[in-house]
Symmetry: C2
């Protein structure tokens, strides 16, 4: 049995959503039919935006409503917590849900006070148009976009388990403009601890392996709400959830700020999972690897150098393979350089897979990223 | 008494130098009048170029000659060590120095075999034009340039102690094209352990605080050769050496690949030196801080987010100040945003100093860097 995909997003049954937008300020509203068992992963940045701190404190209550605004991060402002609480109250009022079951999230510029009048206006508009159709989910997904150029939503089904959701993020892990947010709905009837462990594991293999610019956000948040309407095994749920988060991570990498190419880096044959993870991330985050990718330049020395900055390996045992729609090229085989002309051809593709086999052990990991382009610089030089 | 500067470079008395170049391949030759007490700092990359490994093994002998080529890194090639040894022998022959006292260094593309015929030709040419005048040092400095746009040499004097040297590096710490090399001459009559401790400390506060693209080279090397002709105190020598390495680090940051602006980040009021060092480096390496600098965009939220990814601090206690030739702006004062219009003006300058005062303790550190520009991407996309 395989996981099946549809574009429907959050609205997998038992969830309504909508969104509203005014210029660069947007608001997504998500409402479940009941209080959900909730799992969450929050940014590890020492400076956390007020909505993050507020949700962390309330997580144990379970959430029924998520109100997420874009355009202002509500971070590093003195009135931040007061404003986050006011936003909760406004969403509670409009949806008729108790305030302790309302989560808030924000993404946008750091250091500016929130315009609560505008938030109120947008919450009212979104609440008036809540829908359990795919259209409701799309509206919510669009409302939280900032520099995103693609709407990010997905729903998957596996053995009757449904996992749906929306996300935003194009400059992950980036502090003030492209913060990653992801809101996930499911019907999986599992305990809170099981949901939390499944989410932590899925995020670890997907969003935590996604590198766009290496900056860490003050606002990152992944919330998983379950309405517990489908009995299932933890293993089956993990399978469905991991599929979902991996595809979401891919969508974000594909939509990386200014990116012209998608990069997937698999390090295998490593002595430990940690070495493979760190190695794959180091390669996907190297500015020199990313610029070489942009230039379709098969400069594999940058890959070995990035890997060597992180972990021990035997150059003489290492294989490096490039793959894309343009074919497959072995660029390094047991330390011998391969066909660089073919490698350059392969880099002409839009989605590039780089496999590094260290031939030292059985562990592997995959990181997701994109190229570094002049457009990335221009986007981030100008944004405010 | 203050340190005085001159542009003379390596040739501080008792040292000769020269260089030769053919297209993108260059060679610098440095010859001391006697075997020198030698201290060194090498790259921490797990994958080290063959010349690095060779010099590490011979360091105890002390060096009298350094032969450094540009254009080929002599890294990740099976015959690398054999070629590095042959290069040593060629330099020993041409200079009449014993091979155990010859150091080699390489910078350039990874993964390509060395052209030893060309190396021999360049060594002969350089050996034939060795000179103890400033011109000899300049020739050597020019011969090791790759993407560098400025010749990097300096000599300083303090209480009769002389420290001179040349360096190359524009994409530090970068794996295959802009590797940092620095060769330093001195007359300081100190023991080998004293020289080593002084060098380690000076490098730690200068080159190790220099961030251009965050990539780590396989070829980085700093060699310090002393001909022991001037009795002095360790403290005085450290003072002179630190001045020298700090100015060299500044030159490299000013010449960062594609850079339009120089960035100096001082974190002070930290609880520990390590927190200050890591914080200053995190700010100077953030892609978002670097692009904001390029865009003259006073987006201080990126600074607090970069800092928060590394260390705990109290936003409400933090001050951030921008300074340049265009003036001074307090952009954050105890957590309150300051004059952003003035801040934008200040960022119009070419050399920007950012001071972050955490107001938590007595420790501080400074990092050196530059902006991230579309030109950086173009340079590194195309280089091969």
């Amino acid at each position: 049995m395989v996981v099946t995909e549809s574009g429907g997003g959050l609205c997998i049954g038992g969830f309504k959503a909508s969104g509203a937008r005014k210029g660069k300020y947007g608001l997504a509203l998500i409402v479940a039919d009941k209080v959900c068992r909730t799992a969450a992963v929050f940014t590890r940045n020492k400076i956390k935006a007020s909505p993050v701190l507020l949700d962390m404190g309330k997580l144990g209550n379970g959430f029924q409503v998520i109100a997420a605004n874009s355009g202002n991060a509500n971070a590093c402002v003195k009135e931040g917590m007061v404003d986050a609480e006011r936003m909760c109250h406004l969403a509670a009022e409009e949806t008729g849900v108790r305030v302790e079951n309302v989560a808030v999230a924000s993404t946008g510029i750091i250091g500016r006070p929130m315009d609560l009048d505008l938030i109120e206006e947008l919450i009212k508009e979104a609440a008036g148009t809540l829908s359990s159709s795919p259209d409701g989910s799309s509206k919510a997904a669009k409302a939280i976009m900032t520099t995103d150029t693609m709407v990010k939503e997905l729903s998957v089904e596996y053995k009757g388990i449904r996992v749906g959701g929306i996300a935003k993020g194009a400059g992950m892990i980036s502090p003030d403009m492209a913060t990653m947010l992801c809101f996930i709905s499911t019907n999986a009837d599992l305990g809170r601890n099981e949901l939390q462990s499944a989410l932590a594991e899925a995020v670890d293999e997907s969003f935590n392996m996604l590198v766009i610019d290496g900056d860490m956000s003050t606002n990152d948040m992944v919330l998983l709400l379950s309405n517990s309407s489908k009995k299932c095994s933890l293993a089956d749920f993990k399978h469905a959830l991991k599929y979902f988060t991996r595809e979401m991570a891919r969508m974000m990498a594909l939509d990386g700020e200014g990116a012209t190419k998608y990069l997937e880096v698999e390090v295998k044959g490593a002595k430990s999972r940690e070495a493979a993870r760190r190695g794959a991330r180091a390669i996907a985050s190297s500015s020199l690897v990313k610029t070489a990718l942009y230039g379709e330049n098969p400069n594999w020395g940058r890959i070995t150098a990035a890997l060597g900055s992180i972990t021990d390996f035997l150059f003489e045992e290492t294989d490096i393979i490039f793959e894309s729609s343009k074919g497959r090229a072995v660029v390094l085989e047991k330390g011998e350089a391969g066909d660089l002309k073919k490698a350059r051809e392969v880099l002409g593709g839009k989605e590039i897979k780089v496999t590094v086999d260290l031939n030292m052990g059985d562990s592997g990991a995959t990181a997701y990223g994109c190229d570094l382009t002049p457009e990335y610089v221009e986007i981030n030089a100008g944004y405010s």
